[in-house]
């Protein structure tokens, strides 16, 4: 390939610049977090004596232990059920091809672009009438429904590409439908499922609107919703707020760095499909 030296260097320079712009807010947050609590530090100035204890203070002020537990419980409530329901539905629509599948699929697809704000008001009254306001179920149950369009869409796209011969040969070997589903198709769907699991985890963990509307107690919210409350409470103490924000985004960051390749693939595929 004809590659000019100059082009390579402009490319590198641009990439470094872009990374710098991406990282600056994080660095600013970090540096600010080290200043004495209650002060108004200037931009990116490194403090004379870094106050690492701000992180401890923020950990206690935000009740991080409880928050982690709460977010984890919500994720455990949302992700496995969503995966199961979406796999069942995607299998039926994409592979069993039952009558009326197009209508069902179109109904799901219509929900793909739905902004959550559009239905948050009736959702509030509905959750209230179910007696679930201020419980974690108030976030879990609606989220499963709200994630269904994308999840079904995603799983259908997988099953539609599975060769029917696979089903044929399993049937020849005497597998019934349930065995066919669990023994043959679910194992083969694992790559699609794990990408979907990552996306659903991320969207649940970062869900903000549902958390602040449906749950008053920050300790029963998602991380994101709790951070909103933390900002309301400590918004004037900038270094403490910065430390708290860093702590609250640390778990996602850690999980992202561990599974980064899967994440990147999932996010790219996710937006391509969505």
């Amino acid at each position: 390939m004809i590659v000019g030296r100059r082009e390579v260097w402009t490319g590198r320079l641009l990439l470094v610049l872009l990374m710098a712009v991406t990282v600056v807010p994080f660095i600013s947050l970090f540096v600010t977090a080290l200043h004495p609590s209650g002060s108004y530090p200037l931009g990116l100035d490194w403090p004379g004596d870094p106050h690492w204890d701000n992180f401890v203070k923020a950990f206690e002020a935000a009740n991080m232990g409880e928050l982690l537990k709460s977010s984890t419980l919500i994720v455990i409530g949302v992700v496995p059920i969503s995966l199961l329901l979406a796999t069942l539905a995607g299998f039926a629509i994409g592979h069993l091809r039952m009558a009326g599948r197009n209508v069902v699929f179109l109904t799901f697809v219509l929900g793909l672009t739905l902004p959550f704000e559009g239905i948050i008001t009736p959702l509030y009254y509905q959750v209230r009438d179910l007696g679930l306001l201020n419980t974690r179920w108030a976030i879990i149950l609606p989220l499963i429904g709200l994630f269904m369009p994308f999840s079904v869409f995603w799983m259908r796209a997988h099953f539609v590409n599975m060769p029917q011969e696979l089903t044929e040969s399993a049937r020849m070997d005497g597998a019934n439908l349930w065995q066919l589903f669990w023994r043959v198709h679910v194992p083969l769907a694992m790559p699609a499922l794990s990408s979907l699991a990552i996306l659903l985890f991320l969207w649940t963990w970062n869900q903000f609107l549902l958390a602040i509307v449906l749950v008053d107690d920050p300790l029963k919210r998602t991380m994101s919703g709790a951070l909103g409350a933390f900002q309301g409470q400590w918004g004037t103490d900038i270094p403490l707020l910065s430390a708290g924000s860093l702590l609250i985004l640390a778990p996602t960051l850690a999980i992202f760095l561990v599974f980064q390749r899967r994440f990147v693939t999932a996010l790219l595929q996710g937006s391509l499909k969505g």
């Binding site: 991406t22 600013s28 990147v264 790219l268």
Partner: protein, 322 residues
């Protein structure tokens, strides 16, 4: 990266022809379909559909219903017909929120997509280098962290003592420094910058992934024919990336119209109403001002607006060849 099959997947209307074509070429498909009675398939779909109906479709219908009433959320409601919609389009505060969302498209979509295209085509040649691999991870950070955290970090970066002003002062531009999010004339663009930051990495990487599909021989041929890099870009890159560009535009336009988290955290719609967006206005109307009917009318307008924007983009950028 395994490429998904958005051409069949993204377009539901094709599904209608797809299965028939498959059945024609593969007769076992029909057999399998026939052997499993239809009601069994519906049994598989039922649980997912139930959740969807209860927590999405029913609320959508209710939103439309609420929008036709005046209701404070507690007492009795009064039928007002389309009056709430009239108010949405005539009340300057409500209508401005819609205009603001439309203006945000410039920052959330136009800038990330154009800049993403420019950056991706510049770094295309070093897309497999180690630096690019590191960049892949770094550029994804804004997508992974909660938007709330992005909002808090940027509120501080854009504050009167923040990094932006620090840099400007160093450049001798101390005169233009200000509290970017607190100034009537700059608050909306400042919110837009936060959105652009969140979405630029995603767009760049999506477009870059698309470019890796393009045969380098195409570029070489163009070079030999004397094409400049601008010509290359317009005649090869953009047409082939049609679909990726479509995806970027769709995702980012929806993010702009339905923005909530960033605005809630960074400006709460202020100063004045200068950064109010429909999502936030719905939240205030429904849960602070107890105007459920008005909030619902705005919600319906928002949902329709998103559909109106998303559908034509999908249609325009669909790959006609496949």
């Amino acid at each position: 990266m395994a490429r998904p099959t958005p051409d069949t997947a993204a377009d539901p209307s094709k599904g209608r022809h797809g299965p028939a074509a498959v059945a024609k070429t593969r007769s076992p498909a029909r057999a399998a379909g026939l052997r499993t009675p239809s009601w069994v398939g519906w049994l598989f779909v039922a649980p997912a559909l139930a959740f969807y109906v209860v927590f999405v479709l029913r609320p959508i219908v209710l939103t439309v219903q609420y929008s036709l009433y005046r209701w404070d959320g507690i007492g009795p409601s009064t039928w007002v017909g389309l009056a709430n919609y009239g108010k949405v389009f005539t009340d300057p505060d409500l209508f401005d929120s819609i205009l603001n969302a439309v203006k945000l498209i410039l920052f959330f979509s136009v800038i990330p997509v154009l800049l993403g295209l420019a950056i991706a085509s510049t770094i295309r040649r070093i897309a497999t280098s180690r630096l690019a691999l590191v960049a892949r991870t770094v550029l994804f950070l804004p997508q992974v962290i909660p938007l709330v955290a992005a909002g808090i970090a940027w509120t501080w970066v854009l504050s009167s003592t923040g990094v932006v002003n620090q840099v400007l002062s160093h450049l001798g531009l101390g005169g233009v420094t200000r509290a970017w999010l607190g100034d009537f004339s700059t608050a909306l663009p400042a919110v837009g910058v936060i959105g652009a930051w969140v979405l630029l990495g995603l767009c760049t990487l999506l477009l870059l992934a698309g470019m890796s599909r393009i045969d380098p021989a195409l570029y070489e041929a163009a070079r030999l024919d004397g094409a400049g890099s601008m010509r290359e870009f317009l005649s090869i890159t953009v047409p082939i990336l049609r679909q990726e560009i479509g995806v970027c535009v769709t995702v980012t336009v929806i993010a702009a119209l339905a923005s909530f988290d960033i605005v809630y955290i960074s400006t709460q719609g202020g100063p004045g109403n200068s950064t109010m967006v429909p999502g936030l206005e719905i939240y205030y109307l429904a849960f602070s001002e107890r105007q459920v009917g008005m909030a619902s009318a705005l919600a319906v307008v928002l949902m329709v607006l998103v559909l109106i924007c998303a559908l034509p983009i999908q249609w325009l950028t669909k790959d006609k060849n496949s």
